[in-house]
């Protein structure tokens, strides 16, 4: 019997390419080629957006926690309160036209609007609002802590949050909390109001409609979710009963992973808005006729963490030396132009109370002196975990070079981002470079993450960034707890500014950059404004000329 020839499939022998190499090369090709902007038109009444949407897991506001689904939910659902359109740092009424807060800060009474209609044609009632908040606590999915941190539990939530009449919602807090903190959390995606009857009609095995709401919607926002095909497209259509006017009856978001393909779609008129262009592409498009670029600072920061389990990081001078060794401006200018800016506070610019000054700059002599003072005149060696994804790999190399200049030899360990997160959650890293996005638009979110660690043991209930890096500072922890309960809004802001100043001195985190989200709008397209959080980004005002 003859032997069959041994052959290798051509697909198995092709060169392996990293995503970064692929994106860089593709960006270079398309940017260099600069196809002319000969726009056809997307269908009338349909706004087409090209975006990477493979992060979507669920559209249920009680579960949604990723960027894209939160953004879509922000257009499909409304909340009791939301950001003031003129000043994001202030809260304004949305479904609640007014509210009262008791003097002790424990009782919130919301008076609801009567003309917010679901696609079914029914007007929203306080019962819908109460049910929506109940199910967040009862399901207790990932974002559930935004409400349960106030002391709501499965057992008490129905008693503490209730509709007293069709248009009045009463919320009682077990412990007094800062009103601005509570309202900010209600403005988060978990505060979205769903139509109780529709959700319960689609309930399966007592899941409060969770499975159904993963890919359907029951909100009274200007749009409703029509179709989601994972990693392909999302289609939302206008809610015919909504009284919020929309510029386009339909918004289609297509999953285009490759930035160069997004750019080509913009140039050919197949996309009205593209969301993931590279810095070079944005630069080239800026010079093109007719297109416009819109951008906004995001509540996300890139930071370097130092695990204080290592003796050298327990010395405050070492932490300071590292903060003074980095060339922040060079990283922002050379590696992340248009996509990240320098930020040196754990509260990104735009969040209430954020410090926007930049006290640290590269000062090798000062950093070396601090290291010597700490007992490390010749530096030391340390390992740093970093995601291989852009731009983390390049930033990590820049940090490595800057630290080498003061004698700290950093060995980079490159991996998948979730791998770095897994390692940091297990507290087995030495240093790591990662990003952190605020959970809700209140300073408590990041202050707690970066500074609060009441129990450093493995049994701790609060295991966020401070815990993950063995940073236990009782004074800062107490300050964070106090600020969360401060009833005076202005005084509270001052407290967070103090916390940030102290954290800069003591915390084992080098805050490097703040993310800037940028979108490019095709010629004649206007009205698209990116919010500082994904769910603050609105589609209703998008207009096509």
């Amino acid at each position: 019997m003859m032997t069959r020839p041994m052959l290798t499939s051509p697909m198995l022998t092709r060169p392996v390419l990293t995503r970064r190499a692929m994106l860089a090369a593709s960006a270079a090709i398309v940017t260099a080629a600069e196809a002319p902007f000969a726009r056809a038109a997307t269908p009338a009444g349909v706004a087409v957006m090209a975006k990477q949407i493979d992060d979507v897991i669920s559209f249920d506001p009680a579960e949604s926690y990723e960027f894209t689904n939160n953004e879509v939910d922000g257009n499909v659902y409304r909340r009791l309160v939301g950001p003031n359109p003129k000043d994001n740092t202030r809260i304004a009424g949305d479904l609640a036209e007014k509210w009262e807060i008791s003097a002790d800060g424990k009782e919130f009474t919301f008076h609801l609007v009567k003309d917010a209609y679901f696609p079914s044609g029914k007007a929203m009632t306080a019962e819908d609002a109460a049910f929506s908040l109940h199910r967040v606590v009862m399901l207790n999915k990932t974002p559930g802590f935004i409400l349960t941190q106030f002391g709501f539990t499965k057992d008490n939530v129905e008693k503490l949050i209730r509709a007293t009449d069709a248009a009045t919602l009463q919320m009682s807090l077990p412990i007094a909390q800062a009103p601005t903190f509570v309202l900010s959390c209600l403005s988060a995606n978990v505060g979205s109001v769903v139509e109780k009857a529709t959700v319960l009609a689609n309930q399966v095995n007592g899941d409060l409609g969770n499975a159904w709401l993963k890919n359907h919607s029951a909100g009274n926002g200007p749009y409703q979710l029509t179709q989601w095909v994972a990693s392909d497209h999302i289609t939302i259509d206008a809610n015919p009963k909504s009284n919020i006017p929309v510029g386009n009856k339909r918004v289609t978001i297509r999953h285009i992973a490759d930035p160069s393909a997004q750019l080509l779609m913009l140039q050919k008129g197949d996309a009205d808005i593209v969301r993931d262009l590279t810095p070079d592409q944005i630069k080239s498009v800026k010079a093109s006729d007719g297109t416009s670029v819109t951008s906004s600072g995001q509540g996300s920061s890139v930071y370097v963490a130092m695990n204080m389990a290592l003796p050298q990081f327990q010395k405050r001078q070492v932490l300071q030396a590292m903060k003074w060794a980095i060339d922040y401006d060079a990283i922002a200018t050379n590696i992340t132009p248009n996509t990240y800016v320098v930020s040196q506070s754990f509260l990104p610019s735009g969040l209430p109370g954020a410090l926007t000054d930049k006290p640290f700059k590269k000062d090798v002599a000062r950093a070396k002196a601090l290291l010597a003072e700490a007992g490390y005149p010749n530096g030391f060696s340390v390992k740093m975990d970093t995601s291989s994804a852009s731009p983390y790999g390049d930033i990590a190399q820049a940090v490595q070079a800057d630290l080498a200049a003061i004698g700290i030899n950093v060995e980079l360990i490159s991996g998948e981002q979730k791998q770095v997160i897994t390692k940091m959650r297990a507290r087995t890293h030495e240093m790591a470079i990662l990003y952190w996005g605020t959970d809700y638009f209140d300073p408590n979110s990041n202050a707690q993450a970066f500074c609060a660690n009441p129990d450093d043991s493995d049994a701790s209930k609060l295991r966020i960034l401070a815990w993950r890096n063995h940073f236990k500072d009782d004074q800062l922890t107490a300050m964070v707890e106090d600020a969360a309960k401060e009833l005076d809004g202005e005084k509270r802001i001052g407290m967070y500014q103090n916390i940030q100043k102290i954290a800069r001195e003591r915390a084992p985190f080098i805050i490097l950059l703040q993310k800037i989200s940028t979108a490019v709008l095709a010629k004649g397209v206007s009205g698209f404004v990116i919010g500082p959080l994904p769910d603050y980004t609105k589609y209703a005002d998008i207009k096509k000329g």
């Binding site: 092709r14 087409v48 990932t142």
Partner: protein
């Protein structure tokens, strides 16, 4: 009867191979340094949520128990639920795999239609400018990274000349217009007698299938040339020529049938490669196929989806190998 028995013996190895595939993929998924819970609940989730998810997925149980439970469900046709899409993995595969099959099938048809004649031509005109031309053409197709080919294709035929549509399987205006019956957009459009959607689906296929075809065609042409050179130097060809048969008859009736056997294997493996390996092409063209599904699942540590997709790809490989085996036995009288 003996042929049937040999085929049955080959087929009997399929379950064992599949079991090995499941076991290895399962173990890789469980020992990789990523906590799958992070993919589900995110980095910010509180401990109670993390633990509840771990419990719900049975990840607190010993590895052997987890594997046994997985295999038990697998035997019932249940591949579990994808974290990423929240759908049963079987439903996801039924949705994404037809897109890949459609793309790969068109690509292999184009590749065969061009690659085989080119290979034969190069062999017949060995050493001539035709042979060199074919070699350069094939070398480019096989050595240029496929994402580069895809982007150049988009830039030239979509952005500059405007001959083909851009990314995706259909235009935005036609999205969701055709009822989903088979998952193959062209067939569904045909069934619905929606000619506009059919034309649009075919137009969207041209560029990604063309790029994949160029890549595969280069390989097929080179292999065809090599096999053909071997066959043309055979004594039976010299005899045929000595008998005064026409060149075409010598090539196509005498030499070519002799290389068909080996070509079948090449084609089967190339097609299998297209079914699993179109990841980059699918990414650049925004093509919602199984390759893209598998990659995204892997990056999200969505292990049920990874296992399901790997199993389907593995099964496709095995089936294509079996088919190649069967065809091999049919085509070659010496192994009958």
């Amino acid at each position: 009867m003996s042929r049937l028995r040999t085929f049955a013996a080959a087929a009997s190895s399929v379950p064992i191979t599949l079991f090995g595939l499941v076991l290895v993929t399962f173990l890789i998924g469980r020992v990789m340094p990523i906590d799958p819970i992070i993919a589900i609940v995110g980095d910010h989730a509180q401990n109670d949520v993390v633990e509840a998810a771990r419990l719900q997925l049975g990840l607190d149980r010993p590895l052997a128990v987890q594997f046994w439970l997985y295999v038990k469900l697998l035997m019932q046709g249940d591949l579990g639920r994808s974290v990423m899409t929240s759908n049963p993995v079987t439903r996801d595969i039924a949705q994404y795999f037809p897109a890949t099959i459609e793309l790969a099938t068109v690509a292999i048809l184009i590749a065969v239609a061009i690659g085989i004649p080119l290979g034969v031509l190069a062999a017949v005109r060995r050493g001539s400018w035709v042979d060199h031309g074919v070699r350069v053409f094939c070398l480019a197709g096989h050595s240029i990274p496929i994402f580069l080919l895809a982007l150049i294709g988009l830039l030239v035929f979509y952005a500059t000349l405007g001959w083909t549509p851009g990314t995706g399987r259909s235009d935005v205006g036609l999205e969701g217009m055709v009822p989903d019956v088979t998952g193959f957009l062209t067939i569904d459009a045909l069934l619905a007698r929606d000619w506009e959607s059919l034309r649009d689906a075919c137009a969207h296929l041209v560029l990604p299938a063309g790029v994949l075809a160029y890549f595969s065609m280069a390989y097929i042409a080179r292999m065809t040339r090599a096999f053909m050179l071997d066959a043309l130097s055979g004594e039976f060809v010299i005899t045929a020529r000595a008998k005064g048969l026409s060149a075409a008859r010598v090539i196509w009736r005498h030499a070519f049938p002799n290389i068909a056997v080996r070509l079948v294997t090449v084609l089967a493996l190339t097609y299998a490669g297209l079914l699993e390996g179109a990841v980059v092409t699918e990414t650049v063209f925004g093509w919602p196929g199984l390759g893209q599904y598998l990659t995204i699942s892997l990056l999200n540590a969505d292990m049920n989806a990874v296992l399901g997709a790997t199993l389907v790809i593995g099964l496709s490989y095995l089936l294509l190998n079996l088919l190649a085996d069967a065809a091999y036995r049919l085509l070659d009288p010496r192994v009958r």
